[in-house]
Amino acid sequence: MSVPSDRLKKDHTRHIKERVIEAVLLLAACVSVFTTTAIVYILVKESWVFFQHVPLTDFLFDTQWTPLFDDAHYGIMVLLSGTITSSAVALLVAIPLGTVIAIYLSEFAPFSVREIAKPFLELLGGIPTIIYGYFALLFLTPLLQKIFPSLPGFNLLSAGIVMGIMIIPYVASLSEDAMRAVPMALREGSYAMGATRLQTSLRVVVPSAVSGIAAAYILGVSRAVGETMILAVAAGMQPNLTFNPTEPGATVTSFIVQVALGDLPHGSIGYQTIFAAGLTLMLLTLAFNLVGYYMRKKYREVY
């Protein structure tokens, strides 16, 4: 009797090799989870020390932010006011313009214009923010000062406007994606009723894409809140509890840069303030990102 061939037997070395490779790839995929965990761990750990020195009520309700002075105050409200003011200016620029561009590109523009405009917007979105900061400080502020001579050299207004222009590509491209996902059948239904392009866009396409557009806005807000260099360069870094965009001000992000530029010893309370500020920022953007994520998911499910 012949010995049965072992060609169909399971090859153990091959099997083990496959499992090892899979494990290595899984490990790589887990790096992103490690990153998030590490971010949370570092921020919470350092903030924990901070909050043992500074009561949470002071942090939330004090109206002064002077962590580096002898008479130290830690009112995050001061930094948040700068963040809110500059973000509001940015969104006043980015949302209307971004939406108009999105509607124009999705519903009005001929194919050739769209083919050129989309990559161009992408290029605009890829310019380093330090360049936008330079532009705000040395081009836009002098320009605005010609109109409003009393405008200080550092101000939240021009930083906010430039930040808005920086966010336009982001808002426009995400909104346009949402509008493009609206099925052609709805547009045809509207056009068949004798609607014009604008009527179809505003009455059918935009309402149908509303959750995707809202997601674009929210992710735009998150970008504005997290933006650092434009504000560090053009808005001055003086903490200032104000909602007036024509004043200089510090934001949560620009404060971190300011401290990092100095030479604070590791473990000092000043060093820990930036982690407390970072934790605040992280919680803010996390909230916005999660809302944006679920809204985008929602519109994807509709069609």
Binding site: L25, P128, I131, T196
Partner: protein, 307 residues
């Protein structure tokens, strides 16, 4: 419909179409605002900076005298940091993308990874700086070095690389996989012989876009503690006395292009602002070239793809 009704209908349509036209004009204007900003930004930096751009500017260290200052340490620093970033982000990102597309079972754990990647893409870059400060600089003791900066930026662009990899892989039709499996290939053979080669152009596009973003990042590098005034280069391997090791440059202090520009921008003297413009001009050229290359690659890819 009689003539009179027809006339009023036409008048109505004409008034509606005026709004259409006005909106079209508004759309073009909004787009033009973007174009004008770009032109103004680029022209402003060119006019102020062009006088400073010459060989000396590229081969000099920063100096207290604006006219003698250059960006040698900055661009060398940027190149070295990018090298570390690419070496870390590309293998990690591609491996993660391949795992998620080709291996991952559909369960809660992979869901967490997915949500996590999406979420990381939205984390402000300065938070990565804080992470690096707490983790790489103080916990791992890597210091304020090229290695720290490179790894920080690698984590920052990891989501970009992962998403690009997944999209490129998803574009490969199932029949290709089935064809390979039908020949008796293992999963890894399918991945290494087919999936990765066929999706390489798409992955490359994502990697370039990620690198273009990394090269312009300022905030996390400042947080890590890059110095703004560096008048020396990292030690080249096997040079100097005592002779530097192969990897000593990884642990050297450094500066990068955007930080050099930031430093000059915050000086009051006009001459330094011109230096900032010149450095900005070169930085914009670098990112535009990289992004342009990525867009062109994607365009080529879309045209040539035939399954």
């Amino acid at each position: 419909m009689n003539q009179q009704e027809l006339q009023s209908l036409r008048a109505l349509i004409a008034s509606h179409k005026r709004w259409d036209f006005l909106f079209g004009v508004l759309g073009v204007l909004a787009l033009m605002l973007g174009v004008m900003t770009f032109v103004a930004l680029f022209a402003d930096m060119t006019i102020n900076g062009i006088g400073r751009i010459n060989i000396d500017f590229l081969t000099s260290f920063p100096s207290r005298r604006a006219a003698n200052a250059g960006i040698l340490s900055a661009w060398v620093g940027s190149v070295l940091v990018m090298l570390v970033t690419a070496c870390a982000a590309v293998p990690l990102g591609v491996a993660a993308g391949v795992y998620l597309e080709e291996y991952a079972p559909k369960n809660w754990f992979t869901d967490i990874i997915e949500i996590n990647v999406t979420n990381l893409a939205g984390v402000p870059s300065i938070i990565y700086g804080l992470l690096a400060l707490g983790l790489f600089v103080y916990t791992f003791g890597l210091g304020q070095s090229i290695l720290t900066a490179g790894l920080t930026l690698a984590l920052l662009i990891l989501p970009v690389v992962i998403v690009a990899t997944r999209e490129a892989i998803r574009a490969i039709p199932q029949i290709i996989r089935e064809g390979a499996y039908a020949c008796g290939a293992t999963t890894w053979q399918v991945v290494s012989d087919h999936i990765v080669p066929y999706s390489s152009a798409g992955i490359l596009t994502g990697v370039i876009i990620g690198m273009a973003r990394a090269i312009g990042e300022t905030a996390p590098i400042i947080t890590v503690g890059a110095l703004t005034f560096i008048a020396f280069l990292p030690p080249a391997p096997f040079t100097g006395d005592p002779s530097a090791g192969l990897f000593d440059w990884l642990f050297a202090p450094f500066t990068v292009m955007p930080i050099q520009m930031f430093n000059w921008t915050s000086r009051p003297e006009r001459a330094f602002l011109d230096n900032a413009a010149a450095a900005g001009f070169i930085l914009v050229l670098m990112t535009l070239t990289m992004n342009g290359l990525a867009i062109w690659l994607r365009y080529r890819l879309r045209k040539n793809i035939k399954w």
